[in-house]
């Protein structure tokens, strides 16, 4: 069997159910692959792991991938299981936020570590400076959780539809107490969890073939997970070595994730790609990427995998 | 005398517990020291002289018997700062200059700044260390360190002086000089002095009472009351009375050694 190492963007959770299902259900075995799944974490940059040769393929968000590409790391999107974005800004009503106009002068929690790009381009679209002050917004580097919102340290925090939002709810705030702004609805959605490999590796036909089989099996996993969300969540729980995840949360997450993967067969939608690139290029004075990338994606793998 | 003894030990015993069995340092020692006495302790090495002095100073707890100082317990006397103590080793604090070391008890006892300076100057002269005030202990010779530690004990006013071989590391001339000075101080201030020495002439020259100790377990072999007058020029040491007492002390010591 051929060895493939997959680097996830975050810890083991239903966000990556497709891969765990493919592993567990033997889809990778069927393709004669021996896949190692490495969970990520707060300080793991999948791009860096890829560069260091620690993984063959990584799950990454497109803004980070394109930024890395501009830094000279030739990452290529070989598949895009997530069709839509799950990012949103969750705000407290009692902090006085009803519309995006109310952001002015407020404190907003944002994820950094390569995840800040969509937020920055959104703010530049709203023409809100992020240096604080009366006319702008004060940005907090949000930690791992939604505490700043619960502790009233920020008016809004970044959440994912499938994860942090539910932590806010679990903590005791009700949807009525909150206003959410989905990036998807604000027209600033960027592509999230895609599969990336290094250009030079893809030049090798044997590697390409491996990726084809990998993507095929992974997509099979995703579709299985969409249809059997509870079973998928169980599989994820079985694979969580930290023993910290709860069944309730993972099942709910699987349900939400399924909504995001629903529209994708694995192949990258060129229109989505364009929208992401434009949004990143327009990042005001300090755009995430400065030139239109080329060769940042390929259909070669998905074309072969899906036929 | 009509007054109560300044130091009074009754059947004092002290046993150290060590890793290989108990060591009897003192056994049934009884002794009275009157006010104004100058008592020398002499005895073979390891016989318990230091231990006895430490009991008087409340630095060691006797395991038997009783000791009173100034009519109260040794502990109370210590808290009343009844005595000055010169240790067998100099024991100067390395982070203080010689002057600073001598000033130490004065600071603790709350003497005024001016008084401190005057006293430090005075005792430094007494022990012939003027000019070394600002040196650190490790910059002094062994004998000079010893003198500094004597100066430290003399700097403040205590009625009792406990001195553990203070002049051991000094040459004869300095020693003679300090002997004279000590006698003069004693005559002037009416202090009560307990003095450990290994020198028989020194013991005889200085004391009104000589306590000869014998070793293991430390006991008192002989107590000799000196018939010498209070006024003692250095050449008293050639008189027959002097030599006779010295002889008696030597005999006492020898007997103690034979015991061994």
């Amino acid at each position: 069997a051929d060895d493939v190492t997959l680097q996830l963007k975050w810890v083991t959770q239903a966000q990556f159910a497709g891969y765990y299902v493919a592993q567990d259900k033997g889809f990778y075995d069927e393709e004669d692959l021996n896949v190692t799944i490495k969970p990520g974490g707060p300080d793991i940059a999948p791009t860096q792991v890829l560069a260091g040769g620690g993984a063959d393929v990584a799950v990454e968000w497109m803004p980070a991938a394109l930024a890395a590409r501009e830094k000279g790391l030739p990452m290529v999107n070989i598949a895009q299981p997530f069709k839509s974005s799950g990012m949103m800004l969750t705000c407290r009503k009692d902090a006085g936020i009803e519309t995006t106009d109310d952001f002015k002068g407020k404190t907003l929690g944002v994820w950094f570590f390569g995840n800040e790009f969509p937020f920055l381009s959104w703010m530049s679209k709203l023409e809100l400076p992020t240096e604080g002050g009366e006319d702008g917004v004060t940005v907090l580097k949000q930690g791992f959780n939604v505490d700043p919102l619960l502790q009233n340290q920020a008016a809004c925090v970044s959440t994912m539809t499938y994860n942090e939002y539910w932590q806010v709810i679990d903590a005791g705030l009700t949807p009525d107490d909150l206003n959410v702004f989905k990036y998807e609805e604000q027209g600033v959605a960027t592509l999230e969890d895609g599969l990336y490999a290094l250009e030079e590796n893809l030049a090798d036909p044997a590697f390409e073939d491996k990726m084809v089989r990998f993507v095929r099996a992974s997509m099979k996993g995703w579709k299985y997970a969409e249809e059997n969300p509870d079973e998928a969540a169980e599989i994820v729980l079985d694979n969580d070595a930290s023993g910290a995840q709860t069944e309730e949360h993972q099942k709910r997450m699987m349900g939400e994730v399924a909504k995001l993967t629903a529209g994708s067969n694995g192949a990258l939608d060129e229109a989505d790609y364009e929208r992401t690139v434009q949004s990143l290029l327009s990042g005001g004075s300090d755009p995430v990427i400065t030139v239109e990338p080329s060769g940042a994606w390929t259909h070669a793998i998905t074309d072969k995998a899906l036929n | 005398m009509s007054t109560a003894p300044v130091i009074s030990a009754q059947n004092l015993s002290l046993t150290f517990e060590t890793n290989d069995g108990p060591v009897h340092a003192l056994k049934d020692v009884s002794l009275d020291i009157e006010k104004g006495d100058f008592v020398s302790f002499i005895g073979p090495s390891g016989c318990g002289k230091t231990t006895f002095l430490r009991c008087m100073a409340d630095l060691e707890q006797p395991t038997g018997g009783e000791i009173t100082v100034n009519g109260v317990s040794a502990a109370e006397a210590r808290r009343a700062r009844a005595y000055g103590y010169v240790f067998q080793a100099a024991g100067l604090y390395p982070w203080r200059t010689i002057g600073g070391n001598i000033r130490l008890p004065l600071e603790i006892m709350g003497y005024s700044k001016a008084d401190q300076a005057a006293r430090v100057r005075q005792v430094l002269e007494l022990v012939e260390l003027a000019g070394f005030e600002r040196k650190f202990p490790w910059q002094l010779s062994g004998g000079m360190q010893q003198r500094a530690s004597i100066a430290r004990a003399l700097a403040f006013d205590a009625d009792i002086l406990l001195m553990d071989e203070p002049f051991g590391a000094l040459d004869e001339i300095v020693r003679d000089h300090l002997n004279e000075q000590l006698l003069r101080l004693w005559a002037r201030t009416q202090k009560t002095i307990a003095f450990v020495t290994h020198s028989i002439p020194e013991a005889v020259y200085l004391s009104t009472k000589i306590v000869v100790m014998s070793p293991r377990p430390g006991r008192i072999a002989d107590v000799i009351d000196s018939p010498l007058p209070k006024e003692r020029p250095l050449d008293i040491r050639e008189t027959p009375e002097f030599l006779e007492i010295a002889h008696r002390v030597r005999e006492g010591l020898r007997a103690g050694h034979a015991d061994d």
């Binding site: 791009t47 580097k141 949000q142 | 630095l59 005595y83 603790i108």
Partner: protein, 279 residues
């Protein structure tokens, strides 16, 4: 290949210079020159190896690139320095060392505390600070206060252990002397125990300097305003701007070494009498 040879030659040359330096009569300039030469050697070797083995710049940038970045980003680095070192690390260091020192003295004072508080104190102080960091950020907010709190927790234990040990470092005769003066507790403390404890106390203070810096930086990983060395490092790793990451690390190393060096000088002045300082 050329670069690898360069690295080897640089290494050999640096060592040779230092051995020569060490044979010279001890002088102030030598004690400055030697570490500089050693450092320059390390940097040359690093440059040689990175270029020689063609290590990707997103893994380990060459020193020359880091230097370039350092010079061009001075403004950012300064802002981060103020936030992390001056506000976070320094205030936490003073508070943490001060608290540990006072508690050590209290422990030493009351046998009851010594028997009761020391075991419990050891336990509490052994809480891994990394775990404390998110909690402290939650309690003290995002700004430098929470970083200072993390630093307090971090420097506390080394300082406590060293001070307690130091306060017991007097010898029997030194203590007896104080007894003969019927010195009060405070007099004994100030005139004997504290001076005698100083070599140990400075051990704690010195170890604390580097811990304070690490603590302040690490705490920023768990939430921070958009400035600070820890913020910049974690953000830049995510952006693969490794040159900026290393520029921050250089600043941290310089700041930490200066901090440590200042403490050592101070130590030399205070504990000049200790055999380890007299040589």
């Amino acid at each position: 290949m050329i670069w690898l040879v360069f690295a080897a030659v640089a290494w050999a040359f640096g060592m040779w210079v230092n051995i020569r330096l060490a044979r010279l009569r001890p002088a102030r300039w030598v004690s400055f020159a030697a570490p500089l030469v050693f450092g320059a050697t390390l940097i040359a070797v690093w440059e040689g190896i990175v270029r020689g083995l063609e290590i990707s710049q997103v893994l380990l940038p060459a020193p020359s690139l880091i230097a370039l970045r350092l010079v061009s980003s001075l403004d950012i680095l300064w802002v981060d320095f103020v936030q992390t070192v001056l506000k976070g690390a320094l205030s936490g260091y003073v508070l943490g060392c001060g608290a540990a020192f006072l508690i050590a003295v209290a422990i030493d004072r009351f046998p009851f505390l010594q028997r009761g508080l020391l075991p419990v104190g050891n336990f509490v102080a052994a809480l891994p600070v990394i775990g404390m960091a998110p909690i402290l950020v939650m309690w003290f907010g995002f700004d430098w206060q929470s970083k200072a709190a993390v630093v307090v927790v971090m420097v506390f234990f080394p300082m406590l252990v060293n001070t307690v040990q130091g306060l017991q470092a007097t010898d029997a005769m030194q203590r007896d002397l104080m007894r003969t003066y019927a010195a009060s507790y405070w007099a004994t403390l100030f005139k004997l125990r504290l001076p005698a404890a100083m070599p140990f106390v400075f051990n704690g203070l010195k170890i604390g300097t580097t811990l304070a810096l690490i603590g302040a930086i690490v705490a920023e990983f768990f939430g921070s305003p958009v400035r600070g060395m820890g913020f910049r490092i974690s953000t830049s790793v995510g952006q693969l701007a490794l040159d900026l990451v290393w520029a921050e690390i250089v600043v941290a190393a310089i700041a930490g070494s200066a901090f440590y060096g200042a403490m050592s000088l101070f130590e030399r002045r205070v504990t000049f009498w200790h055999p380890s300082q007299r040589n």
